[in-house]
């Protein structure tokens, strides 16, 4: 070991302060998910009611229930993986692949639904501004996730941002399944695509921040 490394070790360890023990990352993820879901539900209700027969349909239409539950599972698992990705070595490639696969499987339901919808497509419960609501309701959870992951140590901040922004975007998209009209094409165009845009915006923001940091450190 070189003298410089010895000196560095001495410098880093001298005057060492205790660090506050972090909550388990999975717990942080679940707390964020729960608070984000509560926020999305509350603000959605604030802007308009649920589709009148949505809860009855959940109880009586198994495929609709399966579609909704699959969405919930995919979003929850992706949230956990997103936060794990902000801790070195906590997220495996396999878990990331599984998260993306679950999301893809859930979204594939709507593709299948174009030909064989889970429910009879209907305009009942249509919200006038669902596309903007989906976009706007995703922003606070995404910002919160950004702040929380910044306190961790994301080695690949852009990947982390893509994942948690995806979850933030898909939360309102999923809830619109109950709050807005049911028609697969409408869901894809007005709920899913805005959710995916949030993911891209989150990734782009993280990339930009990273780029600025690198430029500053180089100059």
């Amino acid at each position: 070991m070189s003298r410089d490394t010895e000196n560095l070790i001495a410098s880093l360890s001298t005057g060492l302060k205790p660090v506050r023990s972090q909550l388990p990352v999975d717990l942080i993820a679940l707390l964020w998910l729960a608070s984000s879901a509560a926020f999305v539900m509350a603000i959605t209700h604030l802007f308009g009611p649920l589709r009148p027969n949505a809860l009855t349909q959940l109880a009586t239409e198994p495929r609709f229930l399966l579609e909704t539950v699959l969405g919930g599972v995919a979003i929850s698992y992706t949230a956990v993986v997103a936060f794990r990705s902000a801790v070195p070595g906590a997220a495996s490639k396999r878990s990331m692949l599984l998260a993306v696969s679950l999301i893809a499987l859930w979204l594939a339901n709507y593709g299948i639904g174009l030909a064989h919808p889970a429910l009879e497509p209907s305009m009942l419960g249509k919200r006038d501004h669902c596309v903007f609501e989906t976009l706007m309701f995703a922003v606070p959870p995404a910002c919160m996730a950004f702040l929380l992951t910044r306190r961790l140590y994301p080695l690949k901040p852009v990947y982390s941002a893509l994942l948690f922004s995806l979850v933030a975007g898909m939360l309102p998209a999923l809830y619109m399944q109950l709050a807005c009209m049911y028609a697969p094409l409408h869901i894809i165009q007005m709920h899913i695509i805005p959710g995916l845009l949030v993911m891209l915006a989150g990734g782009a923001t993280a990339w930009l921040i990273n780029w600025v940091k690198r430029r500053r450190s180089q100059s």
């Binding site: 490394t5 560095l8 360890s13 060492l16 972090q22 070195p88 070595g89 140590y153 080695l155 100059s219």
Partner: protein, 202 residues
Amino acid sequence: MTVQLKAAPSCAAVSGYMTDNEDSATDEKRWAILMASAQAGNEEDYRTLLTELSRAIKHYLLSRIGSQHFIEDCVQDTLIAVHQARHTYDPRRRFRPWLFAIVRHKTIDTMRRQRSQQQLARQQEDILLQEHNTTEDLDSSITRGRLLDKLSPQHREVLTLTRFIGLSNAEAAAQLHISESAVKVRVHRAIGKLTRLMEADA
């Protein structure tokens, strides 16, 4: 209070850690205990941990990318990253995946930086040949910034040399009559201080 541990493995044992499962398991346990103790603020255990890690990281890098000129930089950058990320280590999880995720990231980062650093060094040589600003000249122009004025003279000096004039850590170390690692630590702390000042100023 220092955590009671078994005697540190010999250099040979440490250097063979990747191939010997028993040593790996011992290191894993030791490092996890030492890091938990370091998180509580134990300097001695932290020093022991970083010393062992530096050897292990060096061996890891040598065995994977050969004897490159930036290996020592890589080791030092990784140690700084371990220091910055130490709050994210969860003692309920394994230590090695946490450590080597950082090592890999820092190695790639350093290797990426090498090319741009070399290009930058050439550009800076040209600029320095054209301009004959002294450290004092630059320092006086820089200290006009009120946030920089709030930094300690040591921090301002090291930022001036490494970030504004663009001297290498070694050159700055020679000018300041301190070690390279001390320059790195000072720069790290100065930027941290400046970031906090800027956040408070916003």
